[in-house]
Assembly symmetry: C2
């Protein structure tokens, strides 16, 4: 590997776009596309059609790839998040909202039924009982109602006691997630942490929940991974 690429990875120096590609593992045409779309800031011009790129470009490229590849964001959604990251007037708390909004799954099911309205009221009661400070148009309120309405439609009333189990667990992990992100040394690092933690933390938690479900099911039914049930 070229010395300049190694330097860049250590947070020093400046390189041409080809070396930025080598250092990041992101193909050259993709980097050019991100530059055109404004996801990665332009380099410092050194000559006609040439520019230098520094460690800040490498860090930004990694964040873009994480948002798009791991978080599943569209280019437009990633651009919204990055604009917020770069906006000095935006408080870290507000940026969490931007990260949430960018990664909201599309509405699931109908929201114009009496059943959905009842579910939405139940979500408001839950939030009130837990004294959660949440703004009234948080998309997650509607998403929680989507799920509760689906339980009701499916007659899965036996899942009602689980709602408190989930809320309790969510509260516990969220407190430690926010503490970890807020402990970062700079505003930029905190906002990056909020985006990464929200998007990738969700992927990780969902995967761990599924593994834990398989384990709990195996333990419950006396099933070992390589064997049929007893």
């Amino acid at each position: 590997m070229r010395r300049s690429v190694q330097q860049l990875r250590k947070g020093r120096g400046a390189v041409r776009i080809g070396e930025l590609s080598a250092a990041s593992g992101v193909p050259l045409p993709t980097i050019k596309y991100y530059l055109r779309e404004g996801l990665v800031p332009a380099g410092s011009p050194t000559a006609r059609n040439q520019a230098d790129y520094g460690p800040e470009h490498l860090a930004r490229l990694r964040l873009v790839r994480a948002l798009i590849e791991v978080g599943g964001l569209s280019v437009a959604a990633a651009r919204d998040v990055l604009r917020a990251v770069d906006d000095p007037d935006l408080h870290a708390h507000e940026l969490l909202g931007v990260a949430h909004d960018a990664t909201v799954a599309k509405p699931v099911g109908r929201r114009d039924t009496a059943e959905w309205r009842l579910a939405r009221d139940a979500v408001d009661r839950l939030v009130g009982e837990r004294h959660w400070l949440v703004h009234a148009d948080a998309p997650a309120l509607d998403q929680a109602a989507d799920a509760l309405a689906a339980f009701a439609t499916l007659g899965a009333t036996d899942f009602a006691p689980l709602v408190d189990v989930w809320a309790e667990a969510a509260e516990k992990v969220a407190r430690q997630e926010v503490a970890a992100v807020a402990a970062r040394e700079s505003r930029a690092a905190t906002v990056e942490g909020a985006v990464i933690g929200t998007v990738i933390g969700e992927v990780l938690f969902n995967a761990l929940r599924r593994l834990a479900q398989e384990h709990a099911s195996a333990a419950h039914y006396g099933f070992s991974p390589e064997q049929r049930p007893c």
Copy 2:
């Protein structure tokens, strides 16, 4: 509403396809599509081009809609899950695996890097330390590695202590989820509960986690929902 539709909703009687549509709220062309695709079993023929549908068709329609609209499954994925639900040789524990496999998000990021391999090893260690009974090719193992590799790529090493927080919370909720589903009165109800709980429970938990994050962030930064930070 017609008397026959009310009867059907109470689990009695038989109706024509138009009344099945009225009882379920699913448009007639959609029901015909589900019938053609084998997601809903055929009715009992009563005359040329006519058939009767009973409460079991209404229940199946609701499950199909929940899988597709709430769970985000494709028609093909929903069909796989429903086949498993209908397979008497499949143990409830195995059906959980089918529900998991059908709802696996597409792989995120590259899985051919040294970093990913390290992350995958870390997942295996975590599973081993927690004595989780998980089959070796569970897709969630790779998904957890995707997320860990992304943290590593992004230099988010400060998230490492959160992995245990997430695993602990996942273990706790999974135990109660499996207990609730296994307590259902019949095999069919248990497998339906596993599918619903896996797919819709994920939507609900993710929404609650985001609400809890907003609350934890507001509390941490002294931010009230309708106000700028102090």
